[in-house]
Each structure stands twice: as structure tokens, then as C-alpha cells.
């Protein structure tokens, strides 16, 4: 029944580590969501045919434009899609900056996936 409620929830994942990207997408799929994965913020920006996402999962540290940069840019453009951050390196400064930018969640990659899924469910 959870699956039915979430089956049309589209989530964007921006994550440069291939294995992390694949596993996260898999978890969302297993939870019944429809993830679209991007390897960089630039790829995400370049995808002109992207659907309307219910929320964005951004890695903080990305090669090139960082997740925080992307969040800032989207805010400037008036995009209001909720943003959740994931990071392999819990840096208090980055966390503070992400919170200040209005993110709805900040998770370490080693945090439980259920917490991440709950956070997504709360915003959709």
C-alpha cells in the first residue's frame, strides 16, 4: 500500500560516486519511488527533459559544481522543490550552510536508509 502511495513520486539523485548513486536509486525503487540519477550537478542542469521532481537528493561534495552550489542556484531561480542532502563527510560548516539554504534533511551516507525514506515521505 506504501508502494501505491509512492509509485508516482519522482526523486532526482545527484551523486558523483557511481556505487553510491546506484545503491541509493535501488533503495528508492525498492521503496516504490521513481528515482532519476545524475552523476553531476551539471548533468542535472543539462537534462532539459527532466520530469517534475517531488524532491531532490543532492550529494554535498561533487566534482565541479557542489550540491550546495546547486541548491543556491535553484533558490535564486525560484525553484521550490524540497532538497535533501547526503554526504560522506559530515562537515558542520556544510551542514549549517545547507540548513540556512532551507534544506529539509541532511544525512550522512552511513545513516539508516529508513530515516532518509521517512524524510522523503514527509515532503511529498
Amino acid at each position: 500500500m506504501t508502494k501505491n502511495r509512492l509509485s508516482n513520486v519522482r526523486v532526482a539523485i545527484v551523486e558523483d560516486d557511481e556505487s553510491a548513486r546506484r545503491s541509493l536509486a535501488r533503495l528508492l525503487r525498492a521503496a516504490g519511488m521513481q528515482p532519476t540519477a545524475y552523476a553531476s550537478a551539471e548533468d542535472f542542469r543539462a537534462d532539459v527533459r527532466q520530469p517534475r521532481f517531488a524532491c531532490l537528493l543532492l550529494d554535498v561534495q561533487l566534482l565541479g559544481m557542489s550540491g550546495l552550489d546547486l541548491q543556491r542556484q535553484l533558490a535564486v531561480e525560484g525553484v521550490t522543490t524540497p532538497v535533501l542532502f547526503i554526504t560522506a563527510h559530515d562537515d558542520p560548516q556544510a551542514r549549517a550552510q545547507a540548513m540556512a539554504g532551507g534544506c529539509v534533511g541532511f544525512f550522512r551516507k552511513t545513516d539508516a536508509g529508513s530515516e532518509l525514506l521517512d524524510a522523503i515521505r514527509r515532503v511529498v
Binding site: S23, L24, R26, L27, A30, H89, K109
Partner: protein, 490 residues
């Protein structure tokens, strides 16, 4: 078996050997003059020995005379070279006594070339065959000693007084051992040798000349002293080698300490490197639980998950293994290695740090590079150091311009060159030469150790390391490594 024909050549060859050894050493090693004079006196004694043997065979005046003249010349040469040796080797002595030896002997020798006379004999009356130990026979000249010719004896006396005086002076100066061994043996055996010759010439004893035997003992005493110097030099060399080894150990410890400190700088980045695969494993396991709860479970998805978990597990253990290798203390052990692999490992170690600092790290090795001779861990240390420095150099730039390029190319037939370029401020021209000096640093909290150790490591590999400013902005650090075929392990 005639032992005389064996014993004398043995003395001669012993003298020749001693002389040749000292000649060989004396051509390159100090004290050169003393060694060459020693060689000269040893050759003279070898000559004396040969002439003594020939004299035991002579049974007529025509054979005997030239031999006796040559013997007198050889004895003179030996006495003069011995005097000069003492003068040079002891570094002291009476100049007048030293000059008296050749002077007096030359006057005595002149009698050999005066008509109707000789240095030792006025006249030879005949030859006798004498039997000695073991039934061996030899010839002995009989004649009237020359009563006027006291000069050779005066020369011997001058030499003995000179040596006693020089030994006493050396003794007072503290060179007691040398004075006693060299000076003492010369005096003692000159008395023995000279005395025996005098006894033969006055007809008191009937035996071959034993001058060369006595002098052989002197030569051995002199050589043992000269060789003590060589041995002392060898000991010094071995002590130097020992301290060189200690230095090497200290260097290796310092390099290790610096590696540990490098690891400290990389620690948070390495935590990031470990968190990536650990996080992926966690997500996969969670996804698997959800897939298993479905009916029917998606077995293909589950298989893919298990495969990914396995790969991530290996990735995490690789990170730990790299860390462990770098932290292990070990000395330089070069073997054939690929520069491409070196760059890949360093890329893996610094990727996390580069991501945290939002620095783009471009790593590209030219294709088909030959293998180089090197120690992977030590070279990783050098490269890590250069990459971390380069990232520091671009740290103040806006994120989009923070770029570090690591490359490897082959500038010539003999080496592979690795370069690390940054787009920072570059290096002040007056600091380019000092960068690799120990404790030189341009960083506020730098120790000035990293580049100095890098240079030590690269030079131990037979390579070169240097820095240059780029044309537009930033600096490039380069080092070379010799190819496998060119240079075997140093």
C-alpha cells in the same frame, strides 16, 4: 737439495712483494713519499739478496768483481733510501747526519772504481769452497781487507746514529711505537747485518753474506707500520660506513614520520573514501530487505545487490590496505613499477580530499610509458606531498578555478617524468632554489620537511626533482625516474 739456492730467492721475492705492494699503494695513498722510498729500499734489498746468491757461486775474479761492485751499489742504494724513508716518515732527524750517509758511502764506493783497489778488499788472493749446514757447499773469496777504506763503516755508523737520534726525537714527540719498532729494528739489524759482513770480510767466519736477511726483518717492521696506516684508513672507512647507515636509518624514520603526518592531513578525506563504499553497502542491504518483503521477491535485483556489496567491500578494504602500506615503516626497496599505477593509487588516496576542497584533480599518464625503477610507497609519498601542496596552492581561488593536474610523460630515452601543476600564485623566483632545503617553508604552519624528504627519496632513486613557474599562472613540480633497463636498483 741446496737450501742456499732456495733461501736467498725467497728473501728476494719477499722483498719484491713488499716493495710492489707499497709501490702500488704509494702511487695513490699518502704517505706517498714514505711508501715510494720504502719500495725503493725493498727493491734494493731484493737486489742485494740476488747478488749474495750469485757471489756464493763465483769462483774466479772475472765473475766475482762485477758482482761485488753491484752489491756495493745496491747496499748504498738501500742505505740512502732507508735514511730518506726515516727522514720523511718520522718527520724529524738531523739533516747533517742524513746527508753524511750518502756522502760517506759515495767516497767509500769510489774505491771500487779506482785501479788496483776495491771498497772492501785491497786484493783477492783466491776462492775457497766451504761446506755448511746440510752438506751444502758455497764459494767464498779470500783477500786482504782494505785498511784505508773506513768510509762505508762511517756511513753505516752515521746511519745508525741518525736513526737513533730520529727515533729519540720521535719518541719524545709521542710516536713511541713507531720509534721503537721501525727505529729499533733498523739499528738492531744494521748492527747484525753489518757485523756479519765485517766478520766475513775479516775472515773470522766462513758463511755467505746475510745482509739481505737482516734487512728483510727491517723491511717487515717498516711495512707493518706503513700498513697500520692503511688499516687505520680502512677502519675509518668502516666507521664512516656505519655512521652513513645510521644517517640512512634516521632519514628513513623521518620519511616515515612525514608519511604519518601526510596521513593525518588525509585522514578526513580517507574517512570520506571509506564512507562511500560503507554507505553504498548499507543502502544495498536496506534495499535488499525491501525487495525480499515483496511477493515475489525480485531475484535479479537481489543478485545485482549482492554483486555490488561485494565490490564495495573490496573497495573499502583497498582503502584500508593503501593506508596500511603507507603507514608501515620500511626502507627503500625499488622494483619495476608502472607510473600509471602510481598515479592511480595517489588519485584514489587524494580523491576524497580533492572533493572536500572542491578541487578538480586531473590525472593523466601518457600511454605506453615504460616501467620505472622505484619503491611504490616512497614514490606515493612524494606524489601525495606534491598533490597536497598543489591543492593548498589553489585553495584560495574560486572553486571553478581550483584545478590540479598530474601527468606523466617521457621526456627522453632514459627516464619518465611525473609533473604536478597548479594554477595558484606560483613561486617567488628567489625561492625556487630553496624549496627543497630542509625547514624551508612558505606555509604559515608548514614544517618545511615534505619537499626535502621528497628530494631525498627521488635522488635515492637516481632521479631529479625540481620546480618551475608556469607561463601564465601557478607552478609545476617535476621529478624524473630512471627506466628499468637503464639503472638497476641503487
Amino acid at each position: 737439495m741446496n737450501w742456499i739456492t732456495i733461501a736467498w730467492p725467497m728473501v728476494a721475492s719477499a722483498c719484491l712483494t713488499l716493495g710492489l705492494i707499497e709501490l702500488r699503494i704509494g702511487l695513490t695513498q699518502p704517505p706517498r713519499a714514505a711508501r715510494l722510498l720504502f719500495a725503493l729500499s725493498a727493491f734494493a734489498v731484493a737486489g742485494i739478496s740476488g747478488l749474495e746468491l750469485a757471489l756464493t757461486r763465483a769462483d774466479n775474479l772475472a765473475d766475482w768483481w762485477p758482482l761485488m761492485r753491484w752489491l756495493d751499489i745496491a747496499v748504498g742504494l738501500m742505505m740512502v733510501s732507508l735514511t730518506a724513508f726515516i727522514w720523511v716518515y718520522f718527520g724529524t732527524g738531523s739533516k747533517w747526519l742524513a746527508l753524511a750517509v750518502p756522502g760517506l758511502y759515495a767516497v767509500g764506493l769510489a774505491f771500487d772504481y779506482l785501479p788496483g783497489s776495491g771498497m772492501t778488499y785491497q786484493q783477492i788472493t783466491g776462492f775457497r769452497t766451504v761446506e755448511t749446514f746440510g752438506g751444502v757447499t758455497f764459494n767464498l773469496a779470500e783477500g786482504v781487507p782494505n785498511p784505508w777504506n773506513v768510509f762505508p763503516y762511517l756511513a753505516v755508523l752515521a746511519l745508525i746514529v741518525f736513526v737513533v737520534d730520529a727515533s729519540a726525537r720521535l719518541w719524545r714527540r709521542g710516536g713511541r711505537w713507531r720509534a721503537a719498532v721501525v727505529g729499533g729494528s733498523i739499528v738492531l739489524f744494521f748492527l747484525v747485518g753489518g757485523g756479519q759482513a765485517a766478520l766475513i770480510e775479516t775472515g773470522a767466519v766462513q758463511m755467505p753474506y746475510l745482509i739481505s736477511w737482516a734487512y728483510l726483518v727491517i723491511l717487515v717492521a717498516m711495512a707493518s707500520e706503513l700498513h697500520a696506516d692503511v688499516l687505520a684508513a680502512a677502519q675509518l672507512a668502516s666507521r664512516l660506513q656505519d655512521s652513513e647507515m645510521v644517517l640512512q636509518q634516521l632519514r628513513s624514520q623521518l620519511a616515515h614520520a612525514s608519511r604519518v603526518s601526510l596521513m593525518g592531513q588525509l585522514a578526513s578525506a580517507l574517512a570520506h573514501e571509506l564512507n562511500q563504499p560503507l554507505g553504498a553497502i548499507l543502502r544495498n542491504a536496506e534495499a535488499a530487505e525491501l525487495f525480499l518483503a515483496q511477493d515475489p521477491p525480485d531475484l535479479d535485483e537481489l543478485r545485482a545487490i549482492l554483486l555490488d556489496i561485494r565490490q564495495d567491500d573490496r573497495r573499502a578494504s583497498d582503502v584500508i590496505e593503501r593506508l596500511r602500506t603507507l603507514l608501515k615503516r620500511r626502507s627503500l626497496a625499488p622494483c619495476a613499477l608502472s607510473v600509471g599505477d602510481l598515479l592511480t593509487t595517489v588519485a584514489a588516496l587524494t580523491r576524497g580530499d580533492a572533493a572536500a576542497r572542491q578541487t578538480r584533480l586531473e590525472i593523466a599518464a601518457a600511454p605506453g610509458l615504460p616501467l620505472v625503477m622505484g619503491d611504490a610507497v616512497h614514490l606515493q609519498q612524494v606524489l601525495l606531498n606534491l598533490v597536497l601542496n598543489a591543492m593548498d596552492a589553489v585553495g584560495h581561488l574560486p572553486a571553478e578555478r581550483r584545478q590540479v593536474r598530474v601527468g606523466a610523460q617521457r621526456p627522453d630515452e632514459r627516464a619518465v617524468e611525473v609533473s604536478v601543476s597548479d594554477g595558484g600564485h606560483g613561486i617567488a623566483p628567489d625561492q625556487l632554489g630553496q624549496l627543497f632545503e630542509p625547514f624551508f617553508t612558505t606555509k604559515p604552519h608548514g614544517m618545511g620537511i615534505g619537499l626535502a624528504i621528497s628530494r631525498t627519496i627521488i635522488e635515492a632513486h637516481g632521479g631529479r626533482i625540481w620546480a618551475e613557474n608556469n607561463g601564465s599562472d601557478g607552478a609545476t613540480f617535476r621529478f624524473t625516474l630512471p627506466l628499468v633497463e637503464e639503472s638497476p636498483a641503487p
